[in-house]
Symmetry: C2
Subunit: 337 residues, 2 copies
DNA sequence: TGACAAACTGCAAACGTTTGCGGTATCCAC
DNA sequence: GTGGATACCGCAAACGTTTGCAGTTTGTCA
C-alpha cells in the first residue's frame, strides 16, 4: 500500500505538503497540489485510517449497539428501518457504522478503546446494566427510545410520539363505542411497553372509564407469544371487541389467531397495529395503524450523536419525531350492528 | 483516557513491560504482571485500537457490505439472519462488524484505507461494478451467494443448496401431477434468480417435460411486485396449478393475491415458498417451504473471511450449506379431485 | 529598490502502541 | 567461584498520519 511518504518522494516535496494537498487545506501551490493528487491517484493511495485516527483522536465511526436479544426480535423490520436511517445520515456526514449485536461487554469500552466515536443503543431496556456507565463516563451516546420521565439519570434519546399515538388510538376506539379493548404489549422492561401502557390507561381515565387488567397482556415481543395471548383473550367469556398490537412481530400473531377462529375484522373485532412495516398495508382488510417513523428516528439519532461528538453537547437532548394514527378498515363502530 | 505510559509510570516499570503484561506475553515477572493489571483496572485502561492497528497492521473489523438496494429489499429478514450469523462468529473470533449500506464508493477502498481487514458482500448482484476490483486488488473478500459457474473471475463465496432445493421442489410438484408451475423470480442480475431458474428448467427437462415461459415472472423482489405478477398469472386463461415464490418478500404478496381471490390452498393452487423467515410457519395452511439456512450461511461466510485474512487463502473457496425442502400442507396432488 | 505582508514549504514532534535487540539479574550445575 | 543458560527488562525504532512553528519564497506597493 502506498503511503504519504512515497507520494512525497515521487513528487519531490515534503510529506507535510502532501498531507495538506490531500486534505485540501490551504498553503500549497496549485501545481503541486495537482501533481500530488495525480500521483496519489496513480499509486491508488488511501489514507491509513488508524494513523489518521491516532493523531486526530477521531475515528469516524458510530457504534450501533443492539442489546442482547433473541433472534426473533432482531428479525423485526424495526431494526432494518432504523439502520437505514442511521446509515443515510452517517454516510452524508462522513461516518461509518459499527454494528454491535449481543455485545457481552460494556458499551462504553467501545468508545474508550477508540473503536467508535460515539454510541447509539437501539431498543434499550430500562434495566440494561451497561447504559448507566455511558452517562457516568460521559461517553457520547444516544438511546432509542429512552427512559420514562423522571428516570434516575439523563441520557440523550430519540423517540416517536409513542404516548400521543396510543392515546389517540384508544380514544378513537372508545369513541367508536369500544369498552373492552385488549392490549398486546411487549416486555415491561421496554420503554415502548411502559409509555404505551401509560397512554392506554390515561385515555380511559380521561374519558371517565375504567380499563380492565385482564385485557392487558405482556408478550415477549414475538409472534408466537402474541398468537398464544390473543388465544387467551378470545377464550375469555367476555372477549374484547378491539385489540391493539404493539409491534410488527406481534401483529401477525394476533391476526392469525383471529383469522384461524373465523372471526371477521372489523365486524367481530377491531384491530389497531403499531409498527413501521408496510406488511400491514397488504392485509385484508387494510389495517388501522400507528405508523412509527422508524427511519426518521434513526436519522435523528445519528444527527444527535454526531452533534454530541462534535460539540460535546446537543441542543435537544430528547427528540420526539411526530407520527400519526392512520385509520383504515380494520376498525369499526361497536356494537357492529 | 489512561495510556500505557501512565500505567508504566505508576507501576515503576518500562512501558514495554506493561505491554507484555497486558497482552499476557512471556517475559514479565508474575508480581509485576499482577501489579500492572491492577493498575490498568484501576485507571480503567483500554488499549487504543488505532495505535494497536497501526503497528500490528490489523484492525479486527470485518466489513459487511450491503450493495445499493431499495428500502423494501433491506427489510427482508434475510439480512437480519445473515447479520446474526456473521456477528456470532465475529464475536467469537475477536472481530467487530462494520456495516456499510448503499456505499457509493469502491468496496476495496474500505480495506485499502485499513478501516476493515476484509469484506463480505451480501446478496451480490452479478453486475456489481465494485466486486471485480476486490479480486483484482486481492482484497480478502467473500460474496454471498456468488456467481454462476464458469464466471469470468473467481472469488470466494458461500451459498446454500439453491439449485438442489429448487430442483427437488419442482420435481416434487411434477410428481404430484402439476405441469403448469409458476415461478415468481427476482431480478435476473441476482444469482439467486439465475440458479433457481436453472434448476426449475432442469427439473422439467429431466422429466421429459417442457416448462412454459409465460409462467416465469421476474419481480423486483418486492411484495407489491409479487402481488401484481401473481395477479397476472391468475388472470391467464389457463392459470398455473402451482406457484413457487423466490423469497420472504415475494411470498406474502403471492399469498395475498391468492387469498383475495378466494382461492383455496392447496385445493385450487399449490404454493412453495423459498425463504428463511419463520413467518410462513404461522400461515394457514402451513407452507411447504425451502428453508434457507441464512444464519448458517452468515456464519460460514464469516469463518471463510477470517481464514482468508489470517492465512491469505482458504481451504474451501466455495462453501455450500445444506438445506432442505420441508413439505407441509400448501402443496397437494393435481388435479385435486 | 526596499519593505512588508502573504503565501508557501519543510522540519520535527506527537498520537499510543508493539517488538527486536542488547543488557542485566537470577539460577543451577559443576 | 565460574560458566552458561534462562528469564526478565528497557531502550528505541517503527507504524502513517497531522500540525505548530520557523524559515523561505513570492507578490505588492510605495
Amino acid at each position: 500500500m502506498a503511503t504519504i511518504k512515497e507520494i512525497a518522494k515521487k513528487a519531490g516535496v515534503s510529506y507535510s505538503s502532501v498531507s495538506r494537498a490531500l486534505n485540501n487545506q490551504t498553503g500549497v501551490r496549485p501545481e503541486i497540489r495537482k501533481k500530488v493528487l495525480e500521483i496519489a491517484q496513480e499509486l491508488n493511495y488511501h489514507p491509513h485510517s488508524s494513523a489518521k485516527a491516532l493523531v486526530q483522536n477521531r475515528i469516524g465511526v458510530l457504534g450501533v449497539v443492539i442489546p442482547r436479544t433473541s433472534e426473533f426480535a432482531f428479525q423485526n423490520p424495526y431494526y432494518s428501518h432504523m439502520l437505514l436511517g442511521l446509515s443515510s445520515v452517517a454516510n452524508d456526514m462522513g461516518y461509518h457504522l459499527m454494528l454491535v449485536i449481543n455485545q457481552q461487554q460494556s458499551y462504553a469500552s467501545l468508545c474508550h478503546s477508540h473503536l467508535v466515536d460515539g454510541i447509539i443503543v437501539l431498543a434499550n431496556r430500562i434495566d440494561d446494566p451497561y447504559i448507566p456507565e455511558l452517562v457516568r463516563d460521559n461517553v457520547p451516546a444516544v438511546v432509542v427510545p429512552g427512559y420514562p420521565d423522571g428516570w434516575e439519570f439523563d441520557i440523550p434519546s430519540v423517540n416517536s410520539e409513542n404516548y400521543q399515538d396510543v392515546y389517540r388510538a384508544i380514544t378513537y376506539l372508545i369513541n367508536l363505542g369500544h369498552r373492552d379493548i385488549a392490549f398486546i404489549l411487549g416486555g415491561m422492561n421496554s420503554n415502548y411497553s411502559l409509555v404505551r401502557l401509560e397512554a392506554y390507561k390515561a385515555a380511559f381515565r380521561d374519558k371517565g372509564l375504567e380499563y380492565k387488567d385482564k385485557y392487558i397482556k405482556e408478550s415477549d415481543f414475538s409472534k408466537t407469544d402474541a398468537f398464544r395471548l390473543m388465544g387467551e383473550l378470545l377464550n375469555l367469556p367476555d372477549p374484547p371487541s378491539a385489540v391493539i398490537s404493539i409491534n410488527d412481530a406481534t401483529t401477525p400473531g394476533v391476526l392469525h389467531q383471529i383469522n384461524s377462529r373465523g372471526l371477521r375484522i372489523p365486524k367481530d373485532i377491531s384491530v389497531v397495529a403499531i409498527g413501521c412495516s408496510d406488511l400491514v398495508d397488504l392485509t385484508d382488510p387494510p389495517l388501522t395503524t400507528i405508523k412509527v417513523p422508524v427511519t426518521q428516528v434513526g436519522r435523528a439519532a445519528a444527527r444527535v450523536l454526531i452533534e454530541l461528538i462534535a460539540k460535546g453537547e446537543c441542543r435537544e437532548r430528547h427528540v420526539v419525531i411526530p407520527s400519526a394514527l392512520v385509520v383504515r378498515e380494520s376498525t369499526g363502530v361497536w356494537p357492529s350492528r
